[in-house]
Symmetry: C2
Subunit: 381 residues, 2 copies
Amino acid sequence: MSTPRRSSDAAQLEATRDAQLAVRVALAATVEPEDKALMPLLQGHDPFTAWELVRTNPEGRFDRCVARVERLRLDDIVARTAALGARIVIPGDDEWPCGVDDLERPPFCLWVTGPARLDAVCRRSVSIVGARAATAYGTQVAGELAFGLANRGFAVVSGGAHGIDTASHRGALAADGTTIAAMACGIDIAYPAANSAPLAEIARSGAIVTELPPGSAPQKQRFLSRNRLIAALTPGTVVVEAGLRSGSRATASAARRLHRVLAAVPGPVTSPASAGTHQLIREGGAVLVTDVDECADLLGSIGDDLAPVKREQPSVADTLGDVESRLLDALPVVRGTGVDRLAVSAGLAPREVMRALAVLLGAGLAERVDSGWRRTRDQIR
Amino acid sequence: MSTPRRSSDAAQLEATRDAQLAVRVALAATVEPEDKALMPLLQGHDPFTAWELVRTNPEGRFDRCVARVERLRLDDIVARTAALGARIVIPGDDEWPCGVDDLERPPFCLWVTGPARLDAVCRRSVSIVGARAATAYGTQVAGELAFGLANRGFAVVSGGAHGIDTASHRGALAADGTTIAAMACGIDIAYPAANSAPLAEIARSGAIVTELPPGSAPQKQRFLSRNRLIAALTPGTVVVEAGLRSGSRATASAARRLHRVLAAVPGPVTSPASAGTHQLIREGGAVLVTDVDECADLLGSIGDDLAPVKREQPSVADTLGDVESRLLDALPVVRGTGVDRLAVSAGLAPREVMRALAVLLGAGLAERVDSGWRRTRDQIR
């Protein structure tokens, strides 16, 4: 496999998928995701022209790619990908998750491993992200949300990190649901290393995805770029616990910029781990969510997943009319009282008292004793 | 003291405060607050005409007041009020808290005891209300908010009930601040009885207020009417813990209807005691607040009480530029690496690597060892 050097319009139209794949892999291997200096130079160019620019380095504007271009071995990357049991997905492929095209700088291509087909599962999916330094409360809530949403057929996308990410992946796995880990390193690297077991399980049943070629190490700015990918893959992002400075807030910003659903779970105001989610709700345009129903309501198709309106069971007393309710309040608990006194204490006409007493008697809320009327014992609030 | 029977415009204009007081006390003693049947009949009438209607009961439309009108002893009520060391405040008095005039059905008059002057303290005040069945979390947060807001000169208004109300009153008292209990019973009744000690303390340093004459028992609908009073007395209401069915939600609705500030404190989504506040934030137009600063910001005069923007302290690494930050990420931790390899791993031009290394060296973030460049040990994230 060699890198194509044609750039005329006619050549592009003839370009086979192999040619597309070659330039896209070449770009992914030489240009950092979201490189602030190079992005404006590549913006608006088709991948063939973009690669031509990077490769030929006109006026030294792509100097920072030179060392990588010199070392680039496309065949090695493709062979290594295959040896890892992974695949490379590019725009135009059936599996390409179109949501990422909404990004200002979409990935050149994606490395994917696992049985889940990205395009299909991302259609009904949710990102659940949050702090690595999560509390027991946060991991419990994230796990329960992931479990419940996976049970309703939502794929759960997260970042494979410690804390909320791991709890979310595990929750989805526990529900035999689909979960996807979007990584900030090559698909051959299990990061964090302590998570290699759950990551292997995700690769077996769901998918691991990254825009970085095999061998790429996890680096700080790659996490930020990866976060935009998480937001773009799914129709909505739920943040469970985030400090005031956290990567999850970057994912949230990306979701908002992409006009995706953005939700956040509150927590105790005494917990710094919830300070970021509270700020997202206060200022970041996030919707406060407390349970699976509310998340599904936000994410799902209208009608399908509408959250049931929360209300407590009404008691018998709740079904009473205004007058009956007032009389019930005025009824004594121990010694009975006559209609005249009840009219005073309830502020009702005697005939209203009589009529209401009949209703309360029928409902088992009032009883007649020697001294008059009183409330039934077991109805006392 | 007798009840005036004049209703002509001229007579009203001549009405002395005593005459106003008499009809207002008579109305308060015979018409339940917010009586659904009588309210429309009295709407739009001045108190003299209103009392005339209630007293004369045309076409039996005020039948439900007859028993009370017959027993009415105005002089007794006034004497009893005085004996309790309380006062009656009516519209037009300096002490009348004008906020209550925004209510659809303002109180006819208010019974007040305690040194605080209602009109003055309500101007800079906050209602803090919530569940009686509060959790330790809720009472802690309510107490801290009340303490902090009292410290900033806000009078704290609440309902004198168990749970959040008591925690709020106590927090304000602990700060030597002013606190006001609005009651759903006569000013002579300490309800709940277990709260008689804090209620006495509130009466000594702040104020107790009610629209019900002495001797009135606490009844369910009176609590709802009292809640509208709490909302109307203050520029803003903060709800700390509320179940899905709770009186605090009635206070919140009243605050919203009155265009007052409405805020709610979140809590763990696993706690039913916070379900009501979460619902208020989701659907009830309440602003999520987490601390005293944010409450003061909402309530205070602009500029005076702006909440400081929350941010964590930036680290040295946060002050780095894009290129330096990328190089720092790419720098190995143990064995040093040469500039060429760094150019590849960071995706930078060699001259960019050199320039960035100088910056990192100066910041103490990178060091030179035999094998090349590496990250300084104590800077590892």
